[in-house]
């Protein structure tokens, strides 16, 4: 088992008048080398749960285990370490940094590792070739189309060679053709040995035959789990 969640809760603004429980004691798991999908309407807690799994935030209570290691109680420094080496993120709005080129955006997560530039560039070039972006390498990211931006986001997520790829509503800003292309890319990544966790309320994603496991959320609770 790759990721195990046990009675995980996340409460925002705890103790305040506007306290809100986004995740209400979820217990579930995700297997290695699979494409798993969190399905649910807006506000069901998909993004919050993805953030907790990806160490972008910490649960209020409960336990998150990555392999044999409990990561829910780790201090910030170690969480960053886990984030950097284990997860690659594709955000809904891509979150590329404007004003930087495609190549610079892709290499950004690897800067703190201090690798020789030659190695870093070679790694980025491989990804650019793989995702058909080689000719866009020097372009500023704000000039790219939606599909291209998403491929840059995927390259950036893969530059540190993570074990798990987390994609939050990856097709929200894409048309149906690009969404199908995206699922094709995810399939290739699974074949390359990656585990992928996708959150989506787009049928093009959760009905895709690329998905191995489907977890449905409603109001912060798991309502169904399909394999």
């Amino acid at each position: 088992m790759l990721i195990q969640l046990t009675d995980v809760r996340k409460v925002f603004n705890q103790g305040k008048a506007n306290e809100f429980c986004a995740i209400q004691g979820i217990t579930t798991h995700f297997e290695a080398n699979q494409v798993s999908c969190l399905k649910g309407a807006s506000g069901s807690g998909k993004t919050t749960l993805m953030s907790l799994i990806g160490c972008l935030s910490r649960p209020t209570s409960g336990r998150i285990q990555l392999g044999d290691r409990v990561i829910s109680g780790l201090p910030e420094r170690f969480l960053t370490e886990v984030r950097r080496h284990t997860f690659g993120f594709i955000f809904q709005r891509f979150n590329l940094i404007p004003g930087l080129s495609v190549l610079e955006n892709i290499m950004l997560p690897a800067y703190p590792q201090g690798l020789p530039y030659k190695n870093l560039k070679a790694r980025a070039d491989r990804l650019l070739d793989q995702f058909a972006l080689a000719n866009k390498s020097d372009n500023m990211v704000e000039w790219l189309s939606g599909g291209e931006s998403q491929r840059v986001a995927i390259c950036r997520a893969l530059i540190n060679e993570p074990q798990i790829l987390i994609a939050d509503e990856p097709t929200a800003n894409l048309d149906s053709q690009l969404s199908a292309e995206f699922m094709g890319l995810i399939d290739e990544l699974r074949k390359a040995g990656k585990s992928v966790l996708i959150s989506s309320h787009d049928p093009a994603v959760f009905e895709s035959n690329v998905i191995d496991r489907l977890v449905e959320l409603h109001d912060g609770c798991v309502v169904s789990e399909d394999v």
Binding site: L56, S57, T80, P109, P112, Q113
Partner: protein, 377 residues
């Protein structure tokens, strides 16, 4: 170690690209910052150079000047005081000086009039400083007419112009023969404006001054070190006046910098969140922001300081000279000797660069210790 350096190189590269991305904002900040450093450094460099100039000018002046007071006012000193002082141990040289001020209504300026020391000047000739020559449009061989105490007019031929190198102290100086001086100011023979003494051992100067007061109770000895102290206070006071005048702009800069540094925009917060999410540590983000603050403040400091150096030592501090030089009408024109004081440089650095870097780092630290998810939302 190499990896650490390489990591810093990447962070600096990223910082530079951030500055270029926000070039409008960066340029505005750099300009204001540079201007502030330029103004502060100009005042500091100028007053420091003036102090040094004054010290070097006074190096060869006598250790003690003796004045005589009568009813609390300066009075002429009788010649027999020189004989009495001659009995004091430690005094090696003593002489009387004739000097005073002459108000020239034609140019509404005061001249400092002195006798020509060892150089023997004919009674009808004078030597003048560069400021007088400029103001009155005089050159060698021209005549200058001065009206005496009793109303008589005396014409003097300009026989020499004083060296421009000493313009700081000689710009308004007019030298004439003792006889001409006595006639012009109606000072009888056997009296001097004051006396000057040289003391063999510099450590005994204060002791000699104490003995002098006992010997001549109506005298007032003025020590060279006291004159230096006075110059120092005057320049410090003038420097303070300038700083007060600049306070408004300094305050505006502080507010501007604080606003820029402390109030991270939504975009900046989101960028920090993204960097954290893709694997940057809090320390990486802080290092990057440290470099951003350091690059802006160091470049501004360097540019401002170099501009101030050029302004003070090559352009005679045109912006501040009227306040800092302080001559009533005859402003001296002179090139100051370039001097950079390490302590002064460090003080300026400490009060401008460090606060800015800190003001940049603190809000970034606050943002970067927050969960990336919360920052990006």
């Amino acid at each position: 170690m190499i990896s650490f350096l390489r990591k810093h190189k990447y962070l600096i590269d990223y910082t530079l690209s951030t500055l270029v991305r926000n070039k409008g904002k960066s340029f505005a900040l750099l300009t204001v910052y540079t201007l502030i450093i330029f103004m502060l450094a100009s005042v500091m460099l100028f007053t420091h150079a003036l102090r040094k100039e004054a010290v070097s000018m006074l190096e060869n002046s006598p250790e003690i000047i003796v004045q005589r007071l009568q009813a609390g006012r300066n009075a002429l000193v009788p010649e027999e005081y020189l004989q009495k002082i001659g009995k004091l141990r430690g005094v090696t040289q003593k002489s009387g000086r004739l000097w005073g001020y002459y108000y020239d209504p034609a140019v509404k300026a005061n001249y400092t009039v002195m006798t020509a020391g060892q150089a023997s000047l004919p009674i009808t000739e004078i030597i003048i400083g560069a400021g007088i020559a400029r103001t009155r449009g005089l050159s060698l061989g021209d005549y200058l007419t001065l009206r005496s105490q009793s109303g008589e007019a005396y014409s003097f031929k300009v026989s020499k112009l004083l060296d421009r190198k000493s313009e700081l102290v000689t710009t308004d100086l007019l030298l004439m023969s003792p006889l001409a001086f006595r006639r012009l100011f109606d000072i009888p023979e056997g009296f001097y404006s004051d006396l000057v003494l040289s003391v063999r051992n510099p450590r005994e100067v204060r002791k000699v001054a104490e003995k002098l007061v006992l010997l001549l109770p109506d005298s007032r000895p003025i020590l060279r070190e006291e004159i230096l102290r006075t110059y120092d206070s005057v320049f410090s006071w003038r420097q303070g006046v300038i700083f007060v005048l600049l306070m408004g702009s300094i305050l505006a800069f502080v507010i501007f910098a604080w606003d820029k540094a402390s109030g991270l925009s939504a975009e900046e917060r989101r960028e920090i969140g993204i960097l954290k999410a893709v694997g940057w540590e809090t320390s990486d983000v802080m290092r990057m922001k440290f470099w951003e603050g350091a690059i802006i403040s160091l470049v501004a400091f360097l540019l401002g300081y170099l501009a101030a150096y050029a302004h003070v030592f090559f352009a005679s501090a045109g912006l501040f000279e009227s306040v800092l030089k302080g001559w009533a009408v005859l402003y001296p024109r002179f090139q100051l000797t370039p001097i950079v004081d390490g302590l002064q440089l460090a003080t300026l650095f400490f009060f401008t660069v460090l606060p800015y870097i800190l003001a940049t780092i603190i809000p970034v630290w606050r943002t970067s210790i927050t969960d990336p998810d919360a920052v990006m939302r």
